[in-house]
Amino acid sequence: MKRNYCVSLLVLSGVFILITGCAPFVENNRIEEIAPVIFWSIDQGEEGRLSICTLVPPLVKEKKRLLTQNVHLLKEGGKLFNLIYYRELKLGQLRMLLVNEEVAKQGLNSLINTLFIDPEVSPRLYLVIIKGDFEAYIQNQLDKQPNLDYFLYRMFKHYEEKHQGEMSIVNLHTFMKNLHTPLSVPFLPVFKAGKESFTYEGTAFFRHDAMIATASGIDDQIMQLLSNDHYLRLLPIPSLSVTVGHIRSKVRIKLADSSAAVNVELYGRVEEYRGDKDILDHAEATELNDQIQTYLEKHTLELLQKMQRWKVDPLEIGRHTMTPFTKPMSDEAWLEKWQQLKFDVNYDIDIQPFVEKK
């Protein structure tokens, strides 16, 4: 009886281990013996190879150094890192994948898939496109900011959690979802790396897995308003000497056969004004409102026309073609139609001056 009990207990324990997908042979993950990598930077290497670099040791107050490898395969780089460093580098805490613009233009599918199928790598992995030499930037910052990798991660996390409209922060899961959703366009943030600076540049749009173009400056701001966050903390318009803040938008799109009407309701308040108008005067405030409206309409139309040329639809206007009982339009058919569309952009702006008029 007791023997049967022990046997059933062993069998049950075995079943518990197997059905949960846990391997009975685990790797040595003792945290003091490993180096959990936070980021990988991937650049175009020599002879069609990939140049992978990372910072070691991550998260520990020790002298940092940059490890770089020229490899054919992503995981090959991971293996070679282990051979030249005294702690085993582990990918379980990989939080950022910084891909150079040139590599992104060739397509990210193989790189992303490698990480996506790795059970150790979390889908909360920030994907970032880099313009310039990130390696040089990190190398230059080693002594100035030893925990730069950690601070970069905190920055991405900060802007991801509350959609504030400053940056298009995208993680692996969102990117993959956009990539495999019909009539949807994946996009990623673009940062420009110089020797001394690391600056947000704009939003990169992808056709399938290859980067097509970047929207920067006012285009990126309009992109945040119309699609990504529907909110902008601040929108400076230097040509009108005004900064509008706390802008929220409601976008209504009406799609006809050969045209699309984009109606945007905008709510915000003037945060700063350095122009000649007396914005406490109703007539002059209305005039400023009209100028902002015209400015936004003009730039929105220009952005949409650029998107038509790039053959990307990040506003997902194509989804308006879907009806309950008809077959959805294919991506190719939609893009064909997308390029022919005539846009009618209308803004309905309600911007409060910062001082209430009595």
Binding site: I17, I31, E32, L59, G92, S122
Partner: protein
């Protein structure tokens, strides 16, 4: 009972020679001859350390000296007089604190109970302290303890059955229950368990519990030990029974469930929302004290991926130069903590502060600066130790430590899976336990949905209209009008 009947039952007839032989070499035994009404001789036998000399004078000596009555029985001014006829009865009587009187003219033997009331004063409980509510607690005096319960439950239906356990200790045991309310099945089971006990020495109620419990090898107590009369009165009122043991202030309450161990008398004094919050905190603390350290070992040994990066930053920094693996580090610290805890119990109270300084500051600080332990673990051990003390029952706190060690080993080998398996094991074990043959994990398993009001939360008293269903009380409603 005549001599012939005694021989047939194996009992020895009482005689002065046999009593003298029995009391030989006992310095505190006294055999005194007195004269009553000048011509009648009376022999008094007693053990002076067990009797009250003043009451002996008042109840026996002085009435005999006055000689106003015809018989000795009439002369003794005590209600606790009984006639005895066998040596066995005489031995029991002498050891209980009786004086034995022999009237040679009538060939009669009498025992008069004038026991010494040697006892400490009624003090407040040290093991189950509360801020508000009754402060009295049991003492070693059995009769006094019964009085404290009877004053709270002045009912003739409150029965007190007396037993004697222990072949050498002859410990008196009193089982109390409310007739017509407590399920008779519990009473019969407890009675038969007490009667079946065959052992020599019972110095505490826990010894009795060890012989009465259904599962000897479990770490969980199956009888609630308390020295609070209000806890006993509440238990009796909801349909449980209470067993009082002589010479110990701790009574046993049964049947109990796992959840009773988390209830404090103060729960019924605080506002119900506050009491519920405190009770939930107790459960959380119990869980936390079980898994906090094993979780640290599991995460830092196997699942570094699951640690939030901000915490990983701290953890990597504090563990980077340690000589021990997380398991050995945790084991070392937990054993050290147990040593400190055990020492603080055994040391005289005046040395307690010194121990606190040595344990808390010197060992805590020194292990970190010497590089034996990480600061994170020290913090976790501290939280875990404090959390374990939130459970009102001290015996659970002790079993908690043992389970924690088990979880520690499991987490070291299997990581989080080990902890989950451990929790499943503990829950399965709790589910299999019984207290006085009643399910230990009720009202969750078996499920009694009406019991929710006094399990994880403590509902408003006026809504707790019925007694717990899992105790199968004969009177379900607590309100008189609805019975």
């Amino acid at each position: 009972m005549n001599n012939h009947e005694m021989l047939s039952t194996g009992q020895t007839p009482i005689s002065i020679d046999a009593l003298e032989r029995m009391l030989s070499n006992m310095t505190d035994a006294e055999i005194i001859d007195r004269h009553y009404n000048k011509d009648q001789k009376v022999t008094l036998l007693y053990i002076e350390t067990l009797i009250n000399p003043e009451r002996l004078n008042e109840s026996v000596i002085e009435p005999l000296n006055r000689g106003l009555h015809d018989s000795i029985y009439d002369a003794i001014s005590s209600t606790k007089v009984s006639e005895i006829s066998t040596m066995e009865e005489a031995e029991v009587a002498l050891m209980r604190g009786c004086v034995i009187l022999h009237d040679p003219s009538q060939s009669q033997w009498w025992s008069v109970l004038i026991e010494s009331s040697l006892s400490r004063a009624i003090e407040s409980s040290e093991t189950e302290t509360i801020l508000y509510g009754p402060k009295d607690s049991f003492s070693e005096q059995l009769e006094q303890n019964i009085t404290m319960i009877r004053r709270r439950l002045p009912l003739t239906t409150l029965k007190a059955e007396r037993f004697t356990v222990g072949s050498t200790s002859k410990t008196p045991v009193v089982m109390m229950y409310i007739e017509g309310l407590t399920n008779p099945e519990f009473v019969d089971t407890a009675r038969s368990k007490i009667i079946e006990i065959d052992f020599d020495l019972f110095l505490d109620s826990s010894h009795l519990a060890a012989f009465m419990e259904d599962h000897t090898h479990s770490v969980f107590p199956q009888y609630q030990q308390t020295d609070r009369p209000d806890t006993c009165a509440y238990a009796l009122d909801i349909g449980k029974l209470t067993i009082l043991v002589g010479n110990t202030p701790f009574a046993l309450i049964a049947p109990i469930t796992f959840f009773h161990l988390f209830q404090s008398p103060e729960d019924y004094i605080n506002r119900w929302l506050v009491a519920s919050f405190l009770r939930i905190i107790r459960y959380l603390s119990f869980f936390l004290s079980l898994i906090l350290i094993p979780l640290y070992v599991a995460l830092s040994t196997h699942h570094y991926q699951m640690i939030p990066m901000q915490i990983l930053f701290v953890l990597l920094e504090s563990r980077s130069k340690l000589p021990f693996s997380p398991f050995w580090e945790a084991l070392l610290m937990l054993i050290t903590l147990e040593i400190i805890k055990e020492a603080s119990l055994r040391m005289p109270s005046k040395s307690g502060q010194t121990l606190g300084v040595i344990g808390g500051i010197v060992i805590g600080e020194a292990t970190v600066s010497a590089g034996f332990s990480s600061t994170v673990l020290i913090v976790l051990v501290g939280i875990s130790a404090i959390a374990s003390f939130l459970v009102p029952n001290y015996l659970v706190t002790k079993s908690n430590t043992l389970i924690q060690f088990g979880f520690l080993v499991l987490s070291s080998f299997l990581g989080l899976l080990g902890i989950v398996l451990g929790i499943i094991g503990v829950l399965a074990h709790l589910n299999s336990l019984t207290s006085l043959k009643q399910p230990y994990f009720a009202p969750l398993a078996p499920f009694y949905w009406r019991g929710w009001m006094d399990v994880f939360i403590r509902g408003p008293l006026k809504y707790m209209k019925s007694r717990p269903e899992y105790l199968h009380p004969l009177q379900r409603w607590r309100y008189g009008r609805r019975r």
